[in-house]
C-alpha cells in the first residue's frame, strides 16, 4: 500500500479528492453533483448489459434452467450485437480455443446451472467439450487456456468491499491473502500477469441471488432475488455497474446511505493504474432487458 497514494482517509472520499468516481458510486461525496449537460452528452466508452427474468428463481431459490438459458442467449446476443445466440458466442471464442471457465467456487458460489449452461452454449458454438475446462483455483490450468471466461457471483466482501469481477481472478495471483484488505487495490495487477492478460473476452456475472453485505460467508438476510445476468466486454465497467446495484440495494435496505465498507478501491485502481477498463459510471452505457422492477440502475 505504501507505494501508492499514502495517507488516504475517509475524508478524501467525502471530498472526492481520491477515488472520485468510486466516491460518487458509493454516495460518499459530501455534495453529490447532479449530472451536468456536458456529462449527459459525454461519449460512453463502455456498455454493460443486464438481463432479468422474474421467473429465474423459485421461492426455494432454485434456478429455472429454461429461463436462465434464455437469459444467457439474450444477453450474449446483446453484448455481441448478433441476432443469433450461436453466432454471439462465436464472437468471443473459436473452435481452436481452450476456454477456462472461472466460476466463483464456494461461499456464495456461482449457480451450477449457470456454469453448466455456459458450457453447453460453448459446445453448441463449436468448442470441443475437452477444450472447456474449469480454470478456477491455483492449479495453473489457466496458463493453458487461450480464453478465460469470468463467471463470478455478485457479492459484497467484508475485506475488500466488493468481491465479484476483479476478485474472480484472485487465485490466479498465487497468494490470495496478498490481495486482501488495503492490498485489494492491486487486484488489477493479476489481470495483467502474462498468463492472464488479454485472455478475457467477455464477463458474465451471475446476479440471480446476489449478496449485498458480509460476503463471502453467507448471511441470507443480505441475499435477494435480483434474477439477473450482467455481461459486457469491459470487466471494469461490468464491476462498476455491479457495485452500483449492490450499493443501491444497501441504501434501500437501510433506508439511508450505507456505503460499502471498506471502499472497493480496486475498482478505480483497475481503471486508472492498471488500465483494464472504465470505472466511471458517467461513461458507461447500461442496457436493461427483461424484468424492470427493482433494477436499481
Amino acid at each position: 500500500m505504501k507505494d501508492h497514494a499514502p495517507g488516504i482517509t475517509r475524508r478524501d472520499f467525502i471530498r472526492g479528492t481520491a477515488f472520485a468516481a468510486l466516491s460518487t458510486t458509493l454516495g460518499m461525496k459530501a455534495a453529490a453533483e447532479s449530472p451536468s449537460a456536458a456529462a449527459e452528452e459525454e461519449k460512453f466508452t463502455s456498455t454493460v448489459f443486464i438481463v432479468r427474468d422474474q421467473k429465474a428463481l423459485d421461492d426455494l431459490h432454485r434456478v429455472n434452467r429454461e429461463a436462465a438459458s434464455e437469459m444467457l442467449d439474450k444477453v450474449m446476443c446483446a453484448v455481441a450485437g448478433k441476432e443469433d445466440a450461436k453466432a454471439a458466442w462465436q464472437t468471443f471464442v473459436k473452435p481452436e480455443d481452450t476456454v477456462g471457465l472461472m466460476p466463483t467456487s464456494h461461499l456464495n458460489a456461482t449457480h451450477n446451472e449457470i456454469t453448466e449452461l455456459v458450457r453447453e452454449k460453448l459446445t453448441g458454438a463449436g468448442i470441443p467439450a475437452k477444450n472447456i475446462v474449469n480454470a478456477q483455483g491455483r492449479s495453473g490450468v489457466h496458463k493453458t487456456c487461450t480464453v478465460l471466461m469470468p463467471l463470478p457471483n455478485l457479492k459484497a466482501h467484508w475485506l475488500t468491499g466488493f468481491g465479484t469481477v476483479l476478485k474472480n481472478y484472485i487465485q490466479l495471483g498465487g497468494n490470495p491473502p496478498a490481495y486482501h484488505a488495503e492490498n485489494s487495490k492491486d487486484l488489477g495487477r493479476i489481470w495483467n500477469m502474462p498468463d492472464v492478460k488479454g485472455k478475457t473476452k467477455v464477463v458474465i456475472v451471475d446476479a440471480l441471488r446476489p449478496l449485498f453485505d458480509k460476503g463471502p460467508q453467507v448471511d441470507p438476510q443480505y441475499l435477494w432475488h435480483y434474477n439477473g445476468i450482467i455481461a459486457g466486454t469491459d470487466p471494469i465497467a461490468v464491476e462498476a455497474v455491479c457495485v452500483k446495484i449492490v450499493q443501491a440495494k444497501r441504501n434501500a435496505f437501510k433506508g439511508e446511505s450505507w456505503p460499502l465498507s471498506p471502499p472497493p478501491i480496486c475498482l478505480e485502481a483497475a481503471d486508472k493504474e492498471y488500465h483494464l477498463g472504465c470505472s466511471d459510471l458517467a461513461k458507461i452505457k447500461i442496457v436493461r432487458m427483461g424484468w424492470e422492477e427493482g433494477a436499481l440502475v
Partner: protein, 283 residues
C-alpha cells in the same frame, strides 16, 4: 483443549453427519477462503462443522466456533447484531434461516440452505440443544458493558481488536492510523443524539504511551493537527457538515464521528468518558 458438548444426532427428521469436520487456524482458509480472516482477527481456537440432511428438505449447516475467551466469542457475534432475539445461548440473533448465538467461549452459526417453517424449527431446536450443553458463564467485554446507555442503538455495537474489522465497520483510512492490533480492545456503536445520530469509537490501549501515540497519529493524518492534551476535548467540523470530536483519557481514546453538531459530539464524549471510566450500563 477440545470443548465437550453434544450435537443431537437427529432433529425433526434431519440427521447429522457422524463426525464433525475440525477446522483450525492452520486450515481455515481451505474451509472458508476469504472469510477466515474474521475469526483469526479474534482469539480463534477451532471450529467444528456438521451437516444435517433430510430427504426433500433444505440442508442445515452447523458451525460451532471455539474462541480463546468469551469476550471474543461475543465479538464475533457482534460482527452483526441485527436480527431477531430467539432466546438461544447468552445472546442470539436470527434472520432468514441463519441462527447465530454466543455462549461462554463459543460462538455458533446454524444455517438452513433455504428458510422453510420446518427448517427454521429444526435449526432452532438444534441451537437450543447445543446451547444447553455448552459451558456458560461468558462475560461481555468491559468496554461494551460500560458504554453509555442513553441513546445507544444496541444492534450497532461492534467489539473488535484489529484494523481490518474497523475497516468493515467504519472505514477511516488506508493506514492503521489508530495503531490497532490484537492487544487493543475497541468498540464502535451508533447513538441517537439531540440533533440526529453519531458514532462513538472507543479504543483501550495497553498502559504506556500507546494511546498518546495513537491520538497523535489520528490527529495528524485525519485532522491535520496536533492532538489535545490528556482529558481535553477537541472538536472539528469537517466535510459534509459533520463534526468529529475526540478525547484521550489515560489509555482510552474516544472519538465521535458524524455528529450533526459540536454540542452533540461533546455531550456524547462526556457521557462516554464518564461511563467507560466509572462503569456504565451499555448492553
Amino acid at each position: 483443549m477440545r470443548a465437550t458438548y453434544e450435537v443431537p444426532r437427529e432433529v425433526n427428521g434431519w440427521v447429522r453427519t457422524e463426525h464433525p469436520r475440525r477446522v483450525t487456524a492452520a486450515n481455515i482458509f481451505d474451509y472458508m477462503d476469504g472469510a477466515g480472516e474474521l475469526y483469526l482477527a479474534y482469539a480463534f481456537v477451532g471450529l467444528d462443522v456438521w451437516k444435517f440432511t433430510r430427504a426433500e428438505a433444505p440442508e442445515i449447516l452447523v458451525e460451532i466456533y471455539e474462541m480463546g475467551n468469551s469476550a471474543d466469542a461475543f465479538g464475533v457475534l457482534s460482527f452483526d447484531l441485527g436480527g431477531e432475539e430467539v432466546g438461544v445461548g447468552q445472546k442470539s440473533v436470527y434472520g432468514a434461516g441463519l441462527l447465530r448465538f454466543w455462549q461462554g467461549r463459543h460462538f455458533a452459526r446454524i444455517l438452513a440452505e433455504a428458510e422453510t417453517p420446518e427448517a427454521k424449527a429444526a435449526l432452532l431446536d438444534i441451537g437450543k440443544s447445543v446451547a444447553s450443553d455448552l459451558p456458560g458463564g461468558g462475560t461481555l467485554p468491559e468496554l461494551v458493558v460500560r458504554l453509555p446507555e442513553a441513546g445507544l442503538l444496541p444492534e450497532s455495537v461492534h467489539y473488535f481488536h484489529r484494523k481490518m474489522c474497523l475497516d468493515y465497520f467504519y472505514y477511516l483510512a488506508d493506514d492503521n492510523i489508530l495503531n490497532l492490533n490484537k492487544e487493543t480492545n475497541a468498540v464502535i456503536a451508533d447513538y441517537r443524539t439531540a440533533s440526529g445520530k453519531a458514532k462513538l469509537l472507543a479504543v483501550e490501549y495497553d498502559p504506556g504511551d500507546s494511546c498518546a501515540e495513537a491520538s497523535r497519529s489520528f490527529h495528524a493524518v485525519y485532522l491535520k493537527q496536533w492532538p489535545p492534551g490528556d482529558g481535553a476535548i477537541r472538536s472539528n467540523e469537517i466535510e459534509g457538515a459533520q463534526w468529529v470530536s475526540s478525547l484521550r483519557n489515560a489509555n482510552l481514546l474516544l472519538i465521535v464521528f458524524e455528529g450533526e453538531s459540536q454540542k452533540d459530539c461533546e455531550e456524547l464524549l462526556q457521557a462516554a468518558v464518564s461511563s467507560l471510566t466509572q462503569g456504565g450500563k451499555g448492553l
